[in-house]
């Protein structure tokens, strides 16, 4: 890996699943991830926010090659993972770990905490395992002598998630993919675990791909935030910019849906209507257009490409909300007429 090259470079990632009707007849193709590209620099946290069915978990798994994506490239530390197999893939993947949503579902109930944390060390045949396990448990805020001998069911949700994090750290990875890592925890425990993620990032200079449905939570831990809708990224940018000046109408809708903790703040009416379309038959053009208050004919005809409107702040929308470049200002009415004249 040369200097300045991103730690992870994902290009045009596509993942599809065939759904079968009765009798095993091909019923349709779920377009779970459709051409997603992003970079993660060393030491950076990229947050991906999206709702159920947006494809964010599939995206995480495709990055880890579990299962392999249908097409696209995942270049990690200079190597394209999609071209690797067997032991060569394993060698690279030790630097790429994952933490899942449900800690109890991802820890073997019959194993003791020590054995769970030691498993990756055994798999990669490293020495001094006992010492390393103590060190890892210590690192995530668990007492090796008190918690090491317990089974997962003897732990609270927060403690179990700490064990899962210790296991992910065992092989000193450079990137951890976190898929909704705190959403099953109560708010006070959630804050403790979020702070742990931040401390580990600073101490071990880790990078995270942090996936969650909660925009405020993602912003809290991320340097940059990407918003995902129905298998595609619609906006990417620095966290505070995406929150302060969202460019995509979907991002705006997500922000408006967050309950404010301030009852004096006027509640905005729901700006997004209807439901997520089927990923088997996604809308033509822009996938958000069926629920978008700004949708025009052009949105159905032409798929908006990701374009950078401000430094590091990109959007895939024909009629973005603000930061419209000169000549295209007060875009909507003008743009609508342009859209018609083009047809």
């Amino acid at each position: 890996m040369t200097q300045g090259e991103p730690l992870l470079q994902v290009r045009d990632l596509v993942q599809e699943f065939v759904v079968r009707d009765r009798g095993g007849v091909k019923g349709g193709v779920v377009q779970a991830v459709s051409g997603v590209s992003f970079d993660i620099q060393a030491g950076e946290t990229l947050g991906i926010v999206g709702e159920t069915g947006s494809g964010k978990s599939t995206l995480a798994r495709s990055v880890l090659q579990a299962p392999r994506p249908k097409s696209g490239s995942v270049v990690f530390r200079g190597t394209d993972l999609t071209t690797l197999r067997g032991s060569r893939l394993l060698r690279v993947r030790r630097h790429l770990q994952m933490v899942f949503q449900d800690p109890f579902g991802s820890l073997d109930p019959k194993w003791r905490v020590r054995d769970i944390v030691a498993e990756p060390l055994v798999a990669y045949r490293t020495g001094n395992r006992g010492e390393r396990v103590d060190e890892l448990l210590d690192l995530v805020g668990l007492d090796p002598s008190a918690h090491g001998g317990r089974h997962p069911r003897e732990l609270s949700g927060g403690q179990a998630q700490r064990v899962a994090i210790a296991r992910a750290l065992a092989l000193s990875p450079s990137l951890i993919v976190c898929d909704e890592p705190v959403s099953s925890l109560d708010v006070l425990i959630q804050a403790q675990v979020l702070n742990l993620f931040e401390r580990l990032r600073a101490e071990l200079s880790l990078s995270y791909l942090f996936i969650a449905h909660d925009l405020a939570l993602v912003k809290q831990v991320s340097d940059r935030v990407a918003v995902m809708y129905l298998g595609k990224l619609c906006e990417v940018g620095p966290g505070d910019l995406v929150y302060r000046e969202p460019l995509h109408p979907y991002t705006r809708a997500l922000l408006d849906s967050i309950p404010s903790t301030d009852p004096a703040a006027t509640r905005r009416a729901t700006t997004i209507k209807g439901e997520l379309p089927s990923p088997i038959h996604p809308p033509s053009g822009c996938r958000f257009r069926t629920r978008c208050p700004r949708a025009a004919e052009r949105c159905a005809a032409e798929e908006p490409q990701m374009r950078e409107l401000a430094a590091g702040h990109s959007v895939a929308c024909h009629f973005p909300l603000s930061n419209v470049p000169a000549g295209n200002e007060e875009a909507v009415p003008a743009a609508r007429t342009t859209a018609r004249s083009e047809e």
């Binding site: 708010v187 006070l188 309950p259 009852p263």
Partner: protein, 326 residues
């Protein structure tokens, strides 16, 4: 807002098992008025759900429920199952977290709503069907005649929750209890369902109780908020007042731990250590004292009573935030 629709007094729920008594709910009292939205907020195991289920008579027989819950002057605690059933659905109804598990997967949703209609009123099949379609329309399900014939698996999570609300409304209840009704839903769907609940409340003049772990949701949608910890009410005020004049350090900790958009990225969240206490072995004194930043010797010696210390604001703390001054 003069006479309470539901008045809960000294509610206590205990579970006995393994030679230990576990007090899930203790000394809970509150009132709900017609047209009001009351939120009960707390973490897992704080007793928020158990206290409401006790009022609804939905707890297993192992639960020992004492105290009083008057619905329009009628005692609900200790009623026989048959008598309770007359109130359930007609006076108070409940919507649960997981609509998938609450709906019958082998029955069309329309039939399930019609069944609920007929359970409450002696109407014929045709009229029940018409009322069911009307209820689907009331909860804003598009093409209600077509959805009527669909099965739960054909609906999205948000739609299923709308069907659950339609079923809960079938008996025209005066009080609707939504127990984590939007927790399993996405944030945009959650906003849609909350708007629907508030709209229905205004339209039908119901009282609404929101049971939630989410203080943000409560502050944003409720008139009045009750905060529970380890089975007891620790603070109660109007949403507006609670937000601007939080008194109980536990409520403050809950507020601070919520990741907020206004916070700069990577700033450490203010956290408190520890976990909620074991309900079978509560510490003497204030049950929050072991985790509290303000805890002193008096907190560990005696439990502070829940009292109205400022007009319309109750809290249970010896050392409130800002010394209890505005």
């Amino acid at each position: 807002m003069t006479e309470a629709l539901l008045e809960v007094q000294d509610l206590q729920v205990a579970f006995a098992g393994g030679g230990r008594e576990l007090r899930a709910v203790d000394e809970v009292n509150y009132c709900v008025y017609a047209g009001q939205t009351l939120a009960i907020v707390g973490e897992s195991g704080s007793g928020k759900t158990v206290s409401c289920r006790a009022v609804m008579g939905l707890l297993p027989h192992t639960a020992v429920v004492t105290g009083s819950a008057l619905f329009q002057g009628q005692q609900l605690i200790g009623l026989s199952e048959d008598r309770m059933r007359e109130h359930r659905g007609a006076d108070l109804a409940m919507v649960f977290q997981d609509p998938t598990r609450s709906l019958n997967p082998t029955m069309r949703v329309g039939a399930q709503i019609a069944e609920a209609v007929r359970a409450h009123r002696p109407v014929g099949r045709t009229q029940a069907r018409e009322e069911a379609v009307e209820l689907l329309r009331l909860v804003h399900i598009p093409l209600p005649e077509r959805r009527f014939l669909e099965y739960p698996h054909q609906l999205s999570g948000g739609m299923r929750q709308r069907v659950m609300i339609a079923i809960a409304l079938a008996g025209r209840p005066r009080l609707l209890i939504a127990d984590e009704a939007t927790t399993a839903l996405d944030v945009t769907t959650q906003a849609q369902i909350m708007e629907l609940l508030l709209e229905l409340q205004a339209e039908l003049g119901m009282a609404l109780m929101l049971i939630s772990h989410d203080l943000g949701l409560a502050a944003s949608y409720a008139d009045e908020v009750i905060v529970m910890y380890a089975g007891r009410i620790v603070e109660q005020a109007t949403a507006r007042r609670l937000f601007s004049h939080v008194r109980m350090p536990y409520t403050q900790a809950l507020f601070e731990a919520i990741p907020r958009l206004e916070r700069p990225a990577h700033s450490p969240l203010p956290v408190i250590g520890g976990r909620p206490p074991d309900l079978a072995a509560l510490p003497p004194g204030c049950s929050f004292a072991p985790r509290c930043r303000h805890a002193a010797d008096d907190c560990r010696a005696a439990a502070p009573p829940l009292a109205e210390q400022e007009p319309g604001h109750r809290w249970a703390c010896w050392h409130p935030v800002n010394g209890g001054a505005s």
